[in-house]
């Protein structure tokens, strides 16, 4: 099961991250998970939000370059070795991970890991076969 992720191009300039988040705040969009990839010249802000279409629209209106794409969110136990097991499965199946980011859920004892790989379908298959719980968009947003 894939979920939508929203990515935003950020110029390496003072106030741009704040401006992007401010647009979302004004639109009443809650950010469930967030990561920033930064290079010396630009950044990419990646987020999981309950309303990706609304977020995309509002950001585009404010001249941000936005891309919506798919990632997978898996649940791992919040204890040593939790992520190791998941990555081990992907590694054994020879699936290359582009990036990932994690957030800890306060209401449960689980951590959520957002993963982007070269081949999402293959990854889902490997993870499901390995008994990893893959979360739907609703599940990620309800946690």
């Amino acid at each position: 099961m894939k979920i939508k992720q929203i990515s935003v191009f950020l110029e390496n300039r003072k106030g741009r991250l704040w401006k992007a988040l401010n647009v979302l705040s004004n639109a009443g969009v809650n950010i469930r998970a967030l990561s920033i990839a930064d290079t010396s010249e630009f950044g990419i802000l990646r987020m999981i939000v309950p309303e990706p279409d609304l977020a995309e629209e509002k950001l585009a209106e404010n001249n941000f370059v936005v891309k919506v794409n798919e990632v997978i969110a898996v649940e791992v136990s919040d204890e040593p070795g939790g992520l190791d097991a998941v990555l081990g499965l992907l590694n054994n199946a020879d699936v290359n991970v582009e990036y990932l980011y994690a957030f800890v859920e306060k209401k449960t004892n689980k951590a959520i890991v957002v993963i982007r790989t070269e081949d999402l379908d293959a990854s889902i298959k490997v993870l499901e076969e390995g008994g990893v719980t893959i979360l739907s968009a609703e599940e990620v947003n309800m946690l």
């Binding site: 191009f9 010249e41 990419i44």
Partner: protein, 433 residues
């Protein structure tokens, strides 16, 4: 549509005879009535009688922009002020502006050459021409205006700016031909797309675009997005304004109205006249202008000339699209670079807007060239390596075009300066002086 078949399709011999006769007259008039020319000719030891053939023009001294500036305001006029019925000036961004004065006959000539230009874009009495060139001291607005009236088309003297209004008028008045700078045409396309206006619902058939340099790729982009035929017009205030040369529907060079303006190409360093087909600086002499005859004006524009009959039937000398200016020609690490080359490289990349800014620095005794370009959804990805690949492919395109390594910096959309006239494309921070 050929407006003046006699003037535009005459034989080579007929044309040269006419040009020589007119050249002799204009040189005489300049020498007799403009102290500046009399002094310069005397200094160079050349007299009007020395002009026996068209090649003899090479004996005459050049006129530069600074010569005109020194004559500010009316020092170049060849007639009494009472006979001047209109004045225009160039922008004057680099000092005092230069003044251009017109007699009644000069305005007639201007209307005539502009009528020829607009006819090349298919203008007839039936057309509605939306003139988005600025009205005022700038020659663009009134030049097109006079030509439109000569043709008998309907002119909408809307002038530059106020894009919302431009679009509203374009829809309501069923504009068929639009005249503006090519960068403004692209801006219009952008706004039309943003507002979801389908160009099929507009009546636009042609655009006459000029007053700044543009490329073949930019023409394709404008034609596709505005759904019209985009034609190049050339002119300059010092010579008359727009209407020195215009592209016909063949789109293979601009026809110079050479019964009124005599072109030459020179090497801008050695000042030697170059043969047809060779790239160099365009030099123009007005053949018929009364109010302010201009002898061998160095335009600083880089082009090449070609002779021969065009597929459209015209026999005027043709000039290539301007590819640079000998004064905004950039020298980076000793290599000659024109901003238009960078634009051409950018337009080869799908999804790329031709909005860019070139920044030149010299951090450690060596020039560094940085090109800022705006990102678009087509270029962007959630993965750093993809965005970096895009950046590298842009750098490679530019490298292939100019032969220099550059650093491309991706910036957010709408963050680079856009102007409704000429855009600021080059920022030179080298402080060489």
């Amino acid at each position: 549509m050929i407006w003046n078949e006699k003037a535009e399709c005459m034989s080579v011999q007929e044309r040269e005879e006419l040009q020589l006769k007119r050249l002799q007259e204009v040189v005489k008039q300049a020498y007799n009535n403009v102290p500046y020319y009399r002094d310069r000719f005397d200094q160079e030891g050349v007299a009007p009688e020395d002009i026996q053939t068209l090649e003899d023009i090479q004996k005459l001294p050049f006129t530069s922009k600074s010569d005109l500036r020194d004559a500010y305001p009316f020092g170049m006029f060849a007639v009494h002020g009472d006979d001047i019925i209109e004045v225009h000036t160039s922008s004057g961004t680099t000092g005092k502006p230069t003044v251009s004065g017109y007699t009644e006959k000069d305005i007639d000539i201007w209307s005539e050459v502009m009528a020829r230009a607009l006819s090349m874009a298919g203008a007839t009495r039936k057309d509605v021409i939306q003139n988005c060139y600025g009205y005022g001291l700038f020659t663009g607005g009134l030049g097109v205006h006079y030509g439109t009236q000569k043709v008998g088309a309907t002119v909408i003297p809307i002038s530059a700016g106020n894009t919302q209004r431009q679009i509203e008028i374009m829809q309501d008045f069923q504009t068929t031909i639009i005249t503006c700078t090519p960068s403004y045409a692209l801006y219009l396309a952008e706004v039309l797309e943003k507002e979801g206006i389908d160009t099929d619902d507009l009546k636009l058939k042609a655009g006459v675009f000029g007053a700044e340099m543009w490329t073949e790729e930019m023409r394709n982009e404008i034609e596709r997005r505005l759904n019209l035929s985009a034609l190049n017009i050339y002119g300059l205030t010092e010579i008359i304004g727009p209407g020195v040369a215009q592209e016909c529907e063949v789109k293979d060079g601009l026809h110079i109205f050479d019964d009124h303006f005599y072109p030459e190409i020179i090497d801008s360093t050695t000042l030697e006249t170059l043969p047809d087909g060779e790239k160099g600086e365009l030099v123009l002499t007005t053949l018929t202008r009364e109010g302010m005859p201009i002898i061998r004006f160095r335009t600083r524009d880089i082009t090449a000339l070609r002779r021969g009959e065009c597929d459209c039937g015209r026999t005027n000398i043709k000039m290539d699209r301007i590819t640079g200016r000998s004064d905004d020609m950039l020298k980076i690490r000793g290599v000659i670079v024109f901003p238009s080359q960078i634009e051409r490289a950018l337009l080869k990349i799908p999804g790329m807007e031709p909005v860019y800014q070139i920044v030149i620095t010299r951090p450690h005794q060596l020039d560094e060239l940085e090109v800022h370009v705006e990102t678009s959804p087509a270029l962007f990805s959630d993965e750093v390596k993809h965005v970096e690949q895009v950046k590298k492919s842009i750098e490679k395109q530019i490298h292939d075009e100019i032969g220099l390594r550059v650093n491309v910096n991706l910036v957010e959309p709408e963050s680079l300066p856009r102007s409704e006239g000429k855009a600021v494309r080059v920022v030179d921070k080298r402080h060489l002086n």
